[in-house]
Symmetry: C2
Subunit: 322 residues, 2 copies
Amino acid sequence: MILTVTLNAALDVTYFVDDLTPHTSHRVKRTFERAGGKGINVARVLAALGHPVLLTGLVGGTTGQAVGEDLRSAGLRDALVPVPGESRRTVTVVSERSGDATVFNQPGPRVDPCSWPAFTRRFAELAGQARVVVLAGSLPPGLPCDTYASLVTAAREAGAVTVLDTSGPALLAALDARPDVIKPNAAEIIEVTGRSHLADAAAELQARGARAVVASDGPRGLHAVTRDGRHRAVPPTRLRGNPTGAGNPTGAGNPTDAGDACVAALAAGLAAGLPWPDILRDAVALSAAAVAAPLAGDFHRDLYEQFRTDVSVETPHAPDAH
Amino acid sequence: MILTVTLNAALDVTYFVDDLTPHTSHRVKRTFERAGGKGINVARVLAALGHPVLLTGLVGGTTGQAVGEDLRSAGLRDALVPVPGESRRTVTVVSERSGDATVFNQPGPRVDPCSWPAFTRRFAELAGQARVVVLAGSLPPGLPCDTYASLVTAAREAGAVTVLDTSGPALLAALDARPDVIKPNAAEIIEVTGRSHLADAAAELQARGARAVVASDGPRGLHAVTRDGRHRAVPPTRLRGNPTGAGNPTGAGNPTDAGDACVAALAAGLAAGLPWPDILRDAVALSAAAVAAPLAGDFHRDLYEQFRTDVSVETPHAPDAH
């Protein structure tokens, strides 16, 4: 079983308007609501691939109820832990005229320190049943920046492999706990290392504690630094110019969709014990198939099958000494 | 007792961002939520003035629950009727840099025709206990445009005086039922009559069925056509240049705040049996005091007391023949 953790779960709301004009009033023509947050999106992809998956995280208030109801209506198994306060919403305003999306991200409820031990107890139980634990997304206000470090440690003690997808101080602080895989994107990796050469920056993050680093470079594929060396997984040329979902019916094409699909593929590959080249090939194919799908957590199944045979994986560098 | 009706109740949410830049992602720095909708705002003003007030309307889903909870936490008595579906939210994005507000209005849930008879039965009971019934705001999807006409008739049969504040087809269709007072603003009156001379347009709406018409002309005051003639109520000169709440700490200054306060003053004056010049003087003073307050349904109490002595009411025209 794969366990995904979403500490800052959200209700993702999309508003469709004719056109967004700042400082005026808009009639919202239709709305679309869905449970969101990186760990939830990863769980959707894994469930769609047929993997046994359970999701946990923190939810609160009526928005948290709506998150839980949406997950259950989608057939996803959850072990969400209720906390005081109100879960956040994200509002994406889609201009139907241009197809452009404008996003408003609420920070999420401040987590009461008193409710954290209840979550960690539950997490340790669940991680004990999991082969892989995915920790994904931002930390809600109120949790210390070493929160992911403590969850990585707890997951390892419970016998699970960890995949971490977060950014900034939460990512840096987690490296000390030696997560099995981290998956920063180019912007995140530059933010935390100050280096724009992705393969070198990935190697630096490995030296700082991550056992493997899979750095996503948008439509140009993945740079990975693992125990058995450096890898480069590259999608077929015709996909490289299409980073944000042309033809996406919501107009809200978002590179993070690809990121969540990539994390799902990494988790699935680790759970199945696949070798790194196979894991990375799947991750690139699934990311590209997610970009072609309309919603976070979805992917285009036929394209995925087709892309799997198209991705090239190069392992030009010898394994590192450590 | 004054009964206010909000058929399209909302949870009004304000998002504070640094600056609104279309087609980018924004971090929402803080949020503010409050039950909204015109009838609810009118009830807030009446309660703050010390008038016995009860509010009813339609609410649904978890957003409807949040509306009810906010009303109860504000100490407002409600007899809201639950309906299937989810009450709407309005999202106001305030750019802290400029103070400008960008508003997204959801249309509201489609009202199931099966739930309407339960509301009308409840409404008739409540109207029987009321001296004045305020019907305010847009109709939610699913209700016919003569909905307010049927509620005006039911309120009259129950012995209550009606004040109607709506626009467009819902306003026009209600005229046949002869509401006691309608309160269109300049934009609404031009929309339904095609006339930009407010006093003449008000007289036309009276001829088409309204017993009295109080047309608000923003900071320039009110034009009223009543049984005892035409009136013009004008705020003191120094207020006329301040239509949208300069100094409003939310930055979301909104002329509709003044409209809701105006309706509250009309309802209070009718309930107290005041003569029209006194009602209109209060309505102008309370509108101006609401513009100076930060939130819909609030007003600046000291300014209100001061403005009441400053408003001039002219009755230059003789009563109409009918």
